[in-house]
Amino acid sequence: MESIAQLLRLIPKYEAFPQLVQALLPMLVSCVLIFAVLALAVLFAVWLERKVSAHIQDRLGPMYVGGWHGWAQTLADALKLLLKEDIVPASTDRILYKMAPYIVFLGAFAAFVVVPFGASSFVTDLNIGILYVVAVGSLSVVGIIMAGWASNNKYSLYGGMRAAAQIISYEIPSAIAIMAVVIPAGSLSMVEIVNAQKGGIQNWFVFRNPFIFLAFIVYFVASLAEVNRTPFDIPEAESELVAGYHTEYSGMRFAFFFLAEYANMFLVASVAATLFLGGWTQLLPASIAPQILPGPVLFFGKVLVLIFIQMWLRWSLPRVRVDQLMYLSWKVLLPISLVLVLGVGWLAVDW
């Protein structure tokens, strides 16, 4: 954010603006920038999902819209959704109904202010960075419950409650797996965590010791459940029986839920890349090879690999049943993650 503040000083007579504006303007610009990056990333991710799913299913996917392999397909779909009639069912709780999609999106969007895209490309370096991410990420649960309740539909309520139960159950193993990284890094700040991984692939936390490697797997699985991806997409496939929390939504509001899901995907992939895969640091140590690609490119490369794996899993695996899902979270992932944290702590202590 400092660089943005510096850029803004280039505006003529910037010092003459009131203090409040001077304080708020960099924040506003950063937020808009993050939103733009996120929106573009989501646009790309939706297209990628359709292409990946198509090739796994032995077909082609979008091919026509925009020319080369249908790259503008998502734009066209977003435009279509924008042009749809804005239906607000009469018996819903209007305020909650309208607010719910934004709050779900907020949960993902607000966490990006601490994610470091590059050595100095981050909005702010909170010293409780990762704790903030986990906390703010839980906001989406509130939004989901709001959506389920406000729809005034028995099935939406059921679906919303189930989704909330799923997300809350999986936050615990994922947070504990994050502890397994915080201990060797010695800090909650995301920038510090990335800095602790500088110097080549062997310094990346995921390769430092087997406990952290397993913690990466636990985090990845738990994060799949956080974002409601198959095999844990019960809230979405709730349409197999009950309708799910976003049935009563149409048009742009529905698009926002969609946007929020992909933004959440990006968030968990970014957190995983930052904590375990070294963030924006490069593969080879600086002594062997100079940094040719800028940090953000490497960062997005890693995020893209993780997102590709998420999509790959979605289109290969069947769905888990609700009770099996809960069993997995509370009786498998939670004990494993506790053991892993103990292991990392044991290794970290200077005996």
Binding site: I56, T230, P318, V320, R321, D323
Partner: protein
């Protein structure tokens, strides 16, 4: 998973229009939380009065109506009807007709089981097998289209013969397809059947014991999935199936109790491989001939009645025809395998969870056209 029911029972409706009910079936579920206390199926939404129509048109015209009962396996529906009337009239067909009928029936069995496997994967959440199965089914449908002009509803089996002979080059394309297809089944097994999550969802669910299955008149892959080795093609052979060498796959309970959803599903997959074997042998037994030589000029069966059954992909299809010596059937009653299996649904699904209802329904592989006629 059986449990005691506490609290109130809520009625949930899986209405006639639903992505997972394989047709227009209405399930009235009485649930207590996640557990289903009772699941009552309501049918009749696709009733098209086939049996009444059959009394007003002549025997040859009933043929196209039979297609439309189980539209996923139309060749087998026609075959059952045609064999019943031929038996009543005492018509013998020549070897070419016999072999072609076997080829078509078995190909349609493969196509129907591919639909069953693909849609079952879809219901459980894995979308990819659905597309792989339909991709392979396309080649079968192309073969059918080449022979009789239609992809789904054929009117190919006629009383006394066939509509048309095979086109030149059919056998070559067929063998090419079989060579390509048999490894694809292994692919499908690696993706879906042996998948841990799929097994967890299906292998302890929907247990149908052999005694219950026989009492409810369940037949076909549903019965064989419960461990009962019974197949009309082996036990009461028709069309010369006794001269063809093939195995009857039976559910063995590899991942859970015998008679689970996984067993029934796996019986179908193994049957696909057996059908490939049967088709190869039928192609080898083909002899030249005229496929229309035994078609009578007027189809007027003698007075009497007959019941005959054949093995269609979903079970035993039975036709009961009462003839009064006229040109139209006096009474035509169809015993549809999916009808009997649905009568067992209520018993099997007691105590299951809501997500398991979908798994059980998919494993029974029903087609509402056949249930409602």
């Amino acid at each position: 998973m059986k449990a005691e029911y506490s609290g109130e029972v809520m009625t949930l409706n899986m209405g006639p229009q639903h992505p997972s009910t394989h047709g227009v079936l209405r399930l009235e579920l009485k649930t207590d939380g996640e557990i289903v206390a009772d699941a009552v199926p309501h049918i009749g939404y696709l009733h098209r009065c086939f049996e009444k129509h059959a009394e007003n048109i002549d025997y040859a015209a009933v043929g196209p109506y039979t297609d439309r009962m189980d539209y996923c396996a139309a060749m087998n529906m026609e075959l059952g009807y045609v064999l019943t009337v031929e038996k009543l009239m005492g018509i013998q067909v020549n070897n070419r007709v016999r072999c072609i009928r076997i080829i078509m029936a078995e190909l349609n069995r493969i196509a129907s089981h591919l639909i069953a496997a693909g849609t079952y994967g879809n219901d459980i959440g894995s979308v990819t097998p659905y597309l792989w199965c339909f991709r392979d089914r396309e080649t079968i449908l192309d073969l059918f289209e080449e022979t009789c002009g239609a992809r789904l509803l054929y009117n190919y089996n006629w009383i006394g013969g066939l509509m048309a002979d095979l086109r030149p080059g059919f056998e070559k394309k067929l063998v090419e397809f079989l060579d390509y297809f048999e490894p694809q089944v292994d692919n499908l097994n690696r993706l879906l059947s042996d998948n841990y999550i799929f097994i967890q969802r299906t292998a302890k669910v929907g247990i149908l014991s052999p005694e219950l299955a026989v009492s409810y008149g369940v037949t076909g892959p549903n019965l064989r999935g419960s461990g009962v080795k019974f197949d009309v093609r082996k036990d009461e052979p028709y069309l010369g199936y006794q001269d063809i060498d093939f195995e009857i796959p039976v559910g063995k309970g590899e991942h859970g109790p015998v008679g689970s959803c996984w067993d029934r599903y796996m019986v179908r997959i193994r049957e696909v491989k057996e059908s490939c074997r049967i088709v190869r042998q039928a192609v080898a037994q083909l002899t030249p001939g005229d496929v229309q030589e035994s078609i009578p000029k007027r189809i007027k069966p003698p007075v009497g009645e007959i019941y005959m059954r054949t093995e269609c992909p979903r079970g035993e299809l039975g036709y009961y025809i009462v003839s009064d010596g006229g040109l139209k059937p006096y009474r035509l009653k169809v015993k549809s395998p999916c009808f009997t299996v649905m009568s067992a649904f209520r018993e099997v699904s007691r105590g299951a969870m809501i997500a398991d209802i979908i798994a059980i329904l998919g494993s029974f592989d029903i087609v509402l056209g056949e249930i409602d006629r």
